[in-house]
């Protein structure tokens, strides 16, 4: 009788039956090991969470201040019922981790989301040798080949400088968690204040409080004098382009940072003035490189171009299978986030901030009010 595989795809998580632990479960469970704090991987309601220590501020912000959360360092080993777990950097966003699972000499790695390029904020990706590798395939097509980060960043610098010269605001959209910190760490920061939407402001504030080196941002509120936006940099989540919130920056140029900007169709559909091809996922060459470097004899391909990438691996002598998960949103919407009426969010900020400060001081047991602000969710229609 064949023994059960070390990790199983149960339809509600990546599950280790020996340890009775779930990796990135999408329903509430007892023991949840979280690769990273994006909302399609870190879901609400589990009894106990385990994640890298750098994920803590965001997880508490998003899942509740009072969740039961154990944190570990990269490389630190912990054993559950004879199964050894350890986390290794995935380079995707702050605190993101690949989960290494070892039992009776067999090693599996669930990599969550990852990228190989050092973004100067998240700890860079480290290849981990394993027998079985579970990989994403968000950009698993050979059309996706990223430019080096410094080139994209200097495109952003140029765009911003030009807008500034023309007296326009530069409204730069991108995913609040990950993309925005990466941008702040790599562009030439202006001397003037950088403005931010509530979703981004809150995250940035939390990360700064947790001791991360990020510049201070200025929250855009209803009261902010519109004249101040002239020539300023404004950071916004991707959903604002169809909101009324954005009108206050007129005249402005709209930029969008996303891997999807590599395609004209996606860029034109977004109707942005400037698309910056910047992704926190591996592109095609790096995806192939990462798989090779693990030395895995079997690969499971999750969210993205699963069937295509697994066929490609099989044809190239690496046994691969596709797995359907609820990570990502198939091959679209890498980074859609639900930001409820942005204007309302800004208004309620003061109220929220007061609560936030209270919480931090008193570590109150009250449920965090994260529902109002800065919460990213999978797009539910």
């Amino acid at each position: 009788m064949p023994s059960q595989p070390l990790l199983q795809f149960t339809g509600k998580s990546i599950y280790c039956s020996v340890a009775d632990a779930h990796i990135d479960p999408w329903i509430p469970v007892d023991k949840a090991i979280i690769t990273h704090a994006h909302s399609d991987h870190a879901r609400w309601g589990s009894k106990h969470y385990l994640a890298h220590k750098d994920s803590e501020p965001i997880l508490r912000l998003r899942l509740g201040q009072d969740i039961s959360l154990q944190t570990v360092e990269y490389g630190e080993k912990f054993v559950i019922n004879g199964v050894t777990f350890s986390l290794y950097p995935a380079g995707h966003i702050i605190g993101s981790a690949q989960i290494r699972v070892e039992h009776k000499g067999e090693v599996w790695v669930a990599s969550g989301d990852y990228k190989l390029e050092d973004d100067h904020f998240a700890v860079p990706y480290e290849p981990v040798k394993c027998n079985v590798f579970i990989t994403e395939s968000t950009f698993g097509l050979p059309i996706y080949k990223w430019q080096p980060q410094h080139e994209v960043m200097s495109e952003i610098d140029t765009w911003f400088a030009q807008n500034k010269a023309e007296g326009k605001a530069s409204v730069l959209m991108g995913y609040s968690l990950g993309k925005m910190q990466r941008i702040l760490k790599n562009i030439q920061l202006p001397d003037e204040p950088i403005y931010a939407h509530g979703a981004i402001y809150t995250l940035n504030d939390r990360l700064r409080q947790a001791g991360f080196d990020l510049p201070e941002l200025t929250l855009v509120t209803k009261e902010t004098d519109r004249k101040l936006f002239r020539g300023a940099l404004v950071l916004a989540p991707p959903s604002v382009d169809s909101s009324t919130w954005i009108k206050k920056f007129n005249p402005y140029s709209l930029g969008y940072c996303s891997g999807w900007m590599a395609l004209r169709g996606a860029k034109n559909r977004r109707a942005v003035d400037q698309g910056f091809v910047l992704s926190d996922h591996v592109d095609w060459p790096d995806l192939n490189r990462a798989v090779k470097e693990t030395g895995a004899e079997k690969v499971f391909v999750t969210h993205g171009y699963t069937s295509i990438f697994s066929r490609w691996l099989n044809e190239n002598g690496i046994e691969a299978g596709e797995v359907h998960t609820m990570y990502g949103n198939e091959d679209e919407n890498e980074e859609e986030e639900v930001v409820q009426d942005a204007a309302v969010a800004s208004e309620s900020y003061e109220q929220h901030k007061a609560k936030l400060d209270d919480e931090i001081e008193n570590t109150s047991k009250e449920k965090s009010p994260t529902g109002d602000l800065g919460v990213e969710g999978g797009r539910e229609l």
């Binding site: 050979p142 059309i143 080949k145 395609l263 169709g265 949103n329 679209e332």
Partner: protein
């Protein structure tokens, strides 16, 4: 080429008309005359064919990119544009410093037709290796692409008019007709130095907007003409310097396709330009459009086709009489001139007048409107008697009043990703109605009619409800119901359903209906019987 590639990318990026005109204008002000004429060639849909086989180009690109063909195809399906796919797949060039101009590249491509496949391959790969990603994309468009970047001829004309400070109506006329970038220059064509003897050149068509509100809003009925709106091919017939030219609205010189009309060369006075509709015509009335369709695409018009689908020209306007441009005359005056000309003509059934409809009150006209389908017409054209013949689509003097489309409720069963702006989104749908055996029978494909938001929602549904994959086509769980409108319906042996509908489009999403409540094939056949 760098300049043109930049223009192309910038045009592609904006959807603001004024910004596009400004970009084009700047290009026309700064590019060399040589490049300008080539750019104009592209923007007016005159790209020469370089006789390359797209399948081979795909294979060469896949080889260069070092990927199997299936992976190339998957990539293509995601991108939706062949030229762009290739530009993304090719290995990135370290050195691309080609300073060849747009004109140089056209000359380079001009060498292709005489080459063997092997030579073509080397020639094209050689070019790819010299170009940046954006340039490769534009080069591929020159090589084999359709040039759809939301730049209409009207925009190009506007930009040219602004750049040259020549009246836009004059420019519109000059860029029409038959010209070849290889043997004309920007100066000759646009600045009109020595090129005004172009006998075949048609006038820009005057186009109508759909009527807003009701006809009664147009004012006094006696100020207006009404004609049937024929469902044929809008055409201009030109007879100048003893030569006959037939142009269709798509600016295609189609003289050879309509031998029935060639007798006009013997009877029309020199310097005549007529505007009207070519229709298939039998027993003194037009036949349905699908009869005309049977001969449009054909290279050889067999005797059988000419017998089964004979055409006639229904004239409704005269633009040039005895060599004089009469577009500034009033509609009423031109109609009189047209009628006078027609009166002298033989074979009046083949060169016929589109009759004016006799009406005193709008109400009368409205009653007649409901008889359109019986006339094989699509409704009415309503033209102000005092109006001149204008250029392009203008509001105010010409209106089309179309009949409401026929419609059925149908179920979405197949979907395919779109291209261009809609790449990566499922936007091309196939709809089905219920057959007698209780199975869904596909009957129409439709692309348009939904808002961007609805497209997003349908796309979301499709991605989560795929049942099967056949290449780029996905079979979707039959659940969503849409009201599908169409202009005409005919029997068809080519379609499984036995019917073919004309201009199918989505009228609205019937979220209130379940798949079981969609219409049946029997309903469709009922509509067919009514309009046979």
């Amino acid at each position: 080429m760098k300049q043109f590639a930049e223009l192309f990318m910038n045009l592609d990026r904006t959807n603001k008309t004024n910004a596009k005109v400004e970009l084009l204008k700047q290009y026309f002000l700064t590019a060399s005359d040589e490049d300008k004429i080539w750019a104009l060639t592209l923007f007016t849909g005159r790209r020469p064919s370089f006789k390359v086989n797209r399948t081979m180009v795909k294979e060469w690109a896949a080889q260069e990119a070092n990927i199997p063909m299936w992976l190339f195809q998957e990539s293509y399906h995601s991108v939706g544009d062949l030229g762009e796919t290739i530009s993304l797949l090719l290995p990135k060039n370290q050195t691309f410093d080609s300073d060849k101009t747009l004109t140089d590249w056209f000359h380079y491509l001009g060498m292709l037709p005489g080459m063997t496949d092997e030579e073509k391959r080397d020639h094209i790969i050689q070019a790819w290796m010299q170009l940046s990603q954006h340039e490769t994309f534009v080069f591929n468009k020159l090589l084999m692409g359709s040039f759809r970047i939301g730049v209409s001829q009207t925009l190009v004309v506007r930009a040219l008019a602004e750049a040259t400070e020549i009246d836009s109506n004059v420019i519109a006329h000059r860029v029409m007709g038959q010209w070849d970038p290889a043997d004309t220059t920007f100066e000759k064509l646009i600045l009109d130095k020595g090129e005004n003897d172009n006998a075949s050149r048609p006038y820009p068509f005057f186009l109508a907007y759909a009527i807003e509100g009701t006809v009664a809003d147009l004012g006094q009925p006696e100020d207006w003409f009404a004609e049937w709106k024929w469902d044929g091919i809008r055409s201009q017939i030109i007879y100048r310097n003893n030569e006959l030219f037939i142009w269709t609205r798509g600016e295609e010189l189609s003289t050879e396709k309509f031998p029935e009309l060639h007798f006009l060369a013997d009877v029309l006075p020199n310097g005549t330009v007529l505007d009207g509709e070519i229709v298939t015509y039998q027993d003194d009335r037009p036949m349905p459009f699908n009869v005309l369709q049977t001969r449009i695409g054909r290279k050889n018009l067999s005797k059988k086709v000419l017998e089964e689908a004979p055409v006639a020209f229904l004239a409704y306007d005269i633009l040039e009489a005895n060599g004089v441009d009469v577009r500034s005359h009033s509609q009423q005056q031109r109609r009189a001139e047209l009628e006078a000309l027609h009166a002298q003509m033989p074979a009046q059934r083949i060169f016929n007048l589109s009759p004016l409809i006799d009406f005193k009150e709008w109400e009368e006209l409205a009653n007649l409107h409901s008889l359109s389908r019986e006339q094989n017409a699509e409704g009415f054209m309503i033209k102000r008697k005092a109006s001149t013949y204008q250029v392009g689509r203008k509001k105010g003097d010409w209106w089309k009043w179309k009949i409401d489309p026929l419609s059925v409720d149908a179920v979405l069963i197949y979907a395919q990703k779109g291209s261009g702006r809609r790449a990566e989104l499922f936007t091309d749908y196939t709809f089905a109605v219920w057959g007698e055996d209780g199975k869904l029978v596909p009957f129409a494909k439709a692309y348009s009619g939904l808002t961007d938001q609805e497209i997003g929602q349908v796309d979301y549904f499709i991605k989560r409800n795929v049942l099967e994959k056949f290449g780029p086509v996905r079979t979707v769980k039959p659940e969503l119901v849409f009201e599908i409108g169409f202009e005409g319906i005919n029997e068809s042996t080519r379609h499984k359903s036995g019917i073919a509908v004309r201009f199918p489009r989505i009228l609205r999403w019937r979220k209130d209906k379940k798949a079981e409540e969609a219409d049946t094939l029997e309903n469709l056949k009922g509509i067919l019987e009514m309009y046979k």
